[in-house]
């Protein structure tokens, strides 16, 4: 690189920035549609790989003593007697029109069933994400205050946190806070108190991941020439963090948050089951156990859709934090 980069070509670039952003969003949406199709296809065929007769599932699972006639009737009702390719295309067509079919086991429409479960899981995931961010920022900010010991403690906490499996952590917090101390219910009761332990279980490992990536860039930012300039203007250490460094540190955390949302949903399967909390995760687990194909596909599609939306959102958020990012 030669010294003193020039910028005479910036004006046209600026003008086209809005256009480029629109193009990028369009691309993202097209990519999203592709992902949804791929998810639907993969799920459809993956479920077919599970041994056993789906018609059996319709009639109450493997244990049921359904007659051959009943099975044939069920196959006809759900189109299971068609060739698999026809079934697949029919399924795709239904999904494209928003028709998720009806549950084998619950005998209700899948769409309203899932919508009723979605809010609980979204609340759980959203709260966990927020708490994870808060924890990660607190630990990263606290432990980059200068001393080496604090840094060791900080990164140690993050590594341990990131390594905790959900099922183990859930058991631990129940033992400590419910059984031992008796502060909180071991089962997720309605109301804010019931949320504390599930959110804690999901947030702590995620905070470990977030903290690890943010600590690194926070340290870089605090050591950067612009931080020195800020200090030389009379900015306090807190000011340097709030005005400059945290913004730079947040950037990798934001990119990670898209992934984190997927991580939280998969964690929700475990957490909702352990805390007996209604939600998509538990619905998914039950549906897989009962081989309830329409519900499984529905849950997977909704999760994929949410994941795509969250990714686009984090992308936009990243652009707000870093206005210099190129489309």
């Amino acid at each position: 690189m030669t010294p003193g980069s020039t910028s005479e070509t910036r004006a046209p670039a600026r003008r086209s920035r809005a256009g480029a952003l629109a193009l990028r969003l369009t691309g993202r949406l097209a990519g999203g549609v592709f992902v949804l199709w791929a998810v639907a296809t993969l799920t459809f065929f993956a479920i077919r790989l599970i041994p056993g007769d789906p018609a059996q599932a319709v009639l109450g699972g493997p244990g049921s003593q359904a007659s051959e006639e009943a099975l044939a009737a069920a196959r006809a009702e759900y189109g299971l007697d068609q060739p698999i390719l026809v079934q697949y295309l029919l399924q795709l067509g239904r999904l494209a029109t928003g028709d998720f079919g009806s549950s084998y086991s619950l005998r209700t429409e899948v769409a309203p069933l899932l919508l009723s479960q979605l809010s609980g899981t979204l609340l759980l995931a959203g709260l966990s994400l927020a708490i994870a961010w808060l924890l990660a920022l607190l630990v990263a900010t606290w432990t980059t205050r200068g001393t080496r010991a604090a840094e060791w403690v900080g990164s140690g906490l993050e590594i341990v946190g990131a390594g905790l499996p959900h099922f183990w952590l859930a058991t631990l917090v129940i033992l400590v806070f419910s059984v031992g101390l008796g502060w909180l219910p071991p089962i997720s009761t309605p109301g804010p108190l019931g949320l504390v332990l599930p959110v804690l279980t999901l947030a702590v490992p995620l905070a470990g991941f977030l903290g690890q990536v943010m600590r690194e860039s926070l340290l870089d930012a605090l050591d950067s020439p612009y931080a020195l300039s800020a200090r030389a203007r009379g900015e306090s250490e807190t000011g340097v963090r709030l005005v400059h460094a945290l913004r730079h540190a947040a950037l990798p955390g934001i990119s990670l948050s898209g992934w984190a949302f997927g991580y939280l949903i998969s964690g929700a399967v475990v957490v909702e089951t352990i805390f007996a909390r209604p939600g998509l995760g538990r619905t998914l687990l039950n549906a897989v156990t009962l081989r309830d194909v329409p519900v499984v596909i529905g849950v997977v599609m909704i999760v994929a859709l949410t994941y795509i939306l969250v990714t686009v959102l984090t992308d936009l958020l990243g652009r707000i934090v870093d206005p210099t990012a190129r489309a």
Binding site: P3, G4, T9, P12, A230, A232, R233, G239
Partner: protein, 536 residues
């Protein structure tokens, strides 16, 4: 007259290491004191100590601003001094403003922190300051981020952020490093004008020529102490300390080709170089080279337009121009790393750019290259031994012992000790790294060396040793150099012929001496006027 700044016996230590060991300074209002020294001499640490920002253990007999002692100030009191009483223009102008924030807010921060001015009053003062530091169209600049500005504009914005609350003392640490010469001259003018308005200025630099234009007094720093201090003209004309003399000798401008810039080494080889003219065919010939880059969403950029030159064998062609003038693209075209849109490069009279890569490949070793930043061209995990080992062709040395011997020989050629063989690039100094990169370039025994800003990231004194080395190598090995630099002083010192590039075109070519004596093109003249030099 009371001194604006008075420093006595300043000592700074990091752990067990004493970096500044008893420095005395005084600066009056309206005066410019330059602290000059090599990297590692402690000058930047001294500068930061003036703002209480070293991070090390600071101790002094006296440290007073306007008669008020700054010793033992609490962090809170220091924050009141920083930005209000003392402004710092920190090193690395290009990255010293937060890239995410509009520069108007960066500049206004000092006012936000030190005054009770309203947001609109702050904005007014920032706009005023932007105009004062010579940024055209302040209202537009206010909302731009540093990435939207050119290097010179960024430096002006950074200066604005240091002076916006009118501090009586300004500390500028290498304020013109990484700037083009013409921009450098403008920034120095700006700093000068600040002192005329009554501010005291402490200017830190490794380059005597840069500071000589504006400093009232010069303090030469070496190894944590000031070895010489006095009025600029006296220090430059009758230097007492050995370190001062070395710094003066290292300035390449006005030093004839072939004369040594650094002390030590064989002086016998010095003297005017007569081109060996070993071959009538030029080592390199470029005809009508043109390269246009088309990026989506941008106007096409013609980086190199109809560039022609000839590099006679065994001589140096200096290619000089400012950043963005197309020098590096020209180098890439010559190295056949980029394919020209039009025109041709010939090497030793044979086609080069017109060949396919399979035909060119075996001949690539004819040409070596060295760059501004050797560190980024080394695999950081490799030791010097491996770096050189990878570059030595099998037919020159095969087998472990032979290759090791060849690596040692190469290190010797570039004046480095065998002891460095097991070091990794990160643990080498800037000068050592560039020497290793020269050794690597020499490993396949090339006849042509493309040197792209090889000394631009080095201190003047280290630059001197590297330039001397390149000169010796040329004599001993009969190498031909295409030498690219933005620094006219360096170009004048190393080149037999000079080509001046502006906006992708060569605007003037000629023998070095003639071109510098009678520049014809206005751009050449402008470059020449801006080049830092010692007053004679």
């Amino acid at each position: 007259m009371t001194d604006l700044l008075r420093v006595e016996g300043l000592r700074v230590a990091f752990g067990e290491r004493d970096v500044v060991r008893g420095v005395d300074l005084r600066v009056g209002a309206g005066e410019c004191l330059a602290i000059v020294g090599e990297s590692g001499s402690g000058k930047s640490v001294t500068a930061r100590a003036l703002l209480g920002l070293t991070g090390g253990r600071v101790d002094a007999d006296a440290l007073a601003l306007n008669g008020r002692s700054l010793l033992g100030l609490s962090e809170r009191k220091w924050r009141e001094i920083r930005g209000r009483e003392i402004g710092l223009i920190s090193q690395d102008a290009l990255v010293s403003l937060d890239p995410f924030r509009p520069i108007g807010r960066e500049i206004g921060d000092a006012l936000r922190l030190h005054t009770r001015m309203s947001a609109s009053a702050r904005r007014g003062r920032v706009l005023e300051t932007l105009a004062e530091v010579g940024l055209p169209d302040p209202a537009l600049r206010f909302g731009q981020r540093s990435g939207d500005l050119s290097g010179g504009q960024r430096q002006r914005a950074l200066i604005a952020s240091a002076v916006v609350s009118r501090p009586p003392l300004i500390v500028a640490d290498e304020p013109t490093t990484a700037l083009d010469v013409t921009v450098q001259a403008q920034i120095l003018d700006l700093l000068r004008s600040l002192t005329r308005e009554g501010a005291g200025l402490v200017l830190i630099s490794h380059d005597l020529a840069v500071v000589s234009a504006i400093a009232d007094r010069i303090a030469v720093m070496s190894d944590g102490v000031i070895v010489e201090e006095g009025p600029t003209s006296r220090v430059l004309t009758s230097p007492v300390a050995e370190q001062t003399r070395a710094l003066i000798a290292a300035v390449p401008f006005g030093r004839p080709r072939g004369s040594r810039l650094s002390a030590g080494g064989p002086a016998a080889s010095a003297g005017p170089l007569t081109a060996p003219a070993s071959s009538p065919t030029p080592a390199l010939r470029a005809t009508g080279l043109t390269k246009t880059f088309r990026l989506p969403g941008r106007d096409p950029l013609t980086a190199v337009a109809d560039v022609s030159f000839e590099l006679p064998a065994g001589t140096t062609l200096g290619l000089v121009g400012e950043s963005g003038s197309g020098k590096s693209t020209t180098a890439r075209l010559v190295l056949a790393l980029t394919t020209p849109d039009a025109g041709e490069v010939q090497v030793e009279g044979r086609p080069w750019s017109a060949l396919g890569e399979s035909a060119r490949g075996p001949h690539r070793r004819l040409m070596g290259a060295i760059y501004q930043d050797p560190l980024s061209s080394f695999d950081p995990r490799l030791s010097v031994r491996d770096i050189l080992g990878d570059a030595i062709p099998r037919d020159i040395a095969d087998g472990r012992t032979a290759r090791l011997a060849e690596a040692r020989r190469l290190l010797g050629t570039v004046g480095l000790d065998d002891g460095l063989l097991d070091r990794r690039p990160l643990h080498l100094s800037g000068g050592q790294r560039q020497r290793v990169s020269i050794a690597r370039a020499l490993a396949p025994r090339p006849r042509i060396l493309i040197c792209d800003e090889p000394v631009s990231a080095l201190d003047v004194s280290v630059q001197a040793t590297v330039l001397d080395l390149l000169d010796e190598l040329q004599r001993e090995l009969g190498l031909s150099y295409l030498f690219i630099s933005h620094d006219l002083g360096v170009i004048q010192h190393v080149s037999d012929t000079v080509a001046v590039m502006e906006a992708g075109r060569i605007v003037e070519t000629g023998p070095t001496e003639q071109l510098f004596r009678e520049p014809r093109h206005p751009y050449t003249r402008r470059l020449l006027d801006s080049a830092p030099r010692l007053p004679v």
